[in-house]
Symmetry: C2
DNA sequence: ATTGTTGCAAATATTTTGCATCAAT
DNA sequence: ATTGATGCAAAATATTTGCAACAAT
């Protein structure tokens, strides 16, 4: 719970929270909308979006945003990991080799645990690029760090 | 190069490829569009999108798609990794603890190498869920595996 | 009574597509 | 000559927002 505004309990909010908690497959907003409509046929999609934001703000659910919102393109076709700057959004190449061993082990372990066929992974580092770091002198670092911990957005 | 259709060299395609290779920060389609327009003022955004697809299809550039296209929501607010099914798109929780040690070491190493402030990572496993695996009996597994290797989409 | 919330519709933003014309092979 | 590529505009998709009416505190 990190927001300072009051948490006003509405029927819509209540049902939406219930629906998100009911399913275990990370539903999209319109999946939730369709389910909630069975209970509240007149609810609007805008209300669903707004409430999902509010619920996440209060830490009751987790909002999973795509790692970056738009497609991007890369002239470097070799395999590599990326570092994303939380402040300016810039994505840079990580100057380390994709670590073949330890993460391959994790993949194998997971495959055995789950009966899934695991055959790859994506690893993205999150931080502040040097420019933003200077400019912000740690301010955003701490702010964002808290946000990330609170939402469990990544580890 | 994996497409069977002919690669037709047009001026637009040439300039677009040049622009993607020129910048090192993983540009978006409209960034490329704006840059290409300095050389070809009448090019359309549709042409840019279509060519970026074609260039990626021929392995000349890499297309970076967001890990999932829409926002998703999660009733489980604990930290955890995810497994994404390439076939049906379902995202499940990975039944392993976020590995604090080895990846934290990587984070530290990267921080030192780059002067970035690294304070987190996202790790996503890619595979086929058990249902899709049965249904497809390995077919898509191999297909997609090749695709992934070719595009370097993930490692 | 105050102020946040709702439903609706319109706006935004990103990407895709239909189509007639044009250009590379 | 054939067939893929282009420019343009319209469509499709996902999300946000303005606003008047409404409801929780």
């Amino acid at each position: 719970m990190k927001s300072d505004k009051p948490y006003r309990l509405t029927r819509q909010r209540e049902v939406i929270l219930e629906e998100v908690r009911k399913v275990y497959h990370h539903p999209t907003a319109d999946e939730i909308y369709e389910n909630v409509r069975k209970t509240l046929p007149h609810i609007s999609l805008g209300t669903v979006y707004r409430n999902l934001d509010v619920l996440a703000e209060f830490g009751l659910i987790k909002k999973m945003e795509p790692d970056f919102p738009q497609m991007r393109f890369d002239g470097n076709t070799k395999e590599h990991y990326h570092i994303t700057c939380l402040h300016c959004g810039m994505i840079e190449d990580a100057p380390i080799e994709p670590s073949g061993n330890s993460l391959k082990n994790l993949e194998n372990a997971l495959g055995n645990l789950t009966k899934h066929g695991i055959f790859g992974h994506k690893l993205e580092f999150i931080g502040l690029c040097s420019k933003c770091r200077e400019k912000e002198n740690g301010r955003i670092f701490k702010e964002k760090l808290n946000e990330c911990i609170d939402t469990g957005g990544f580890k």
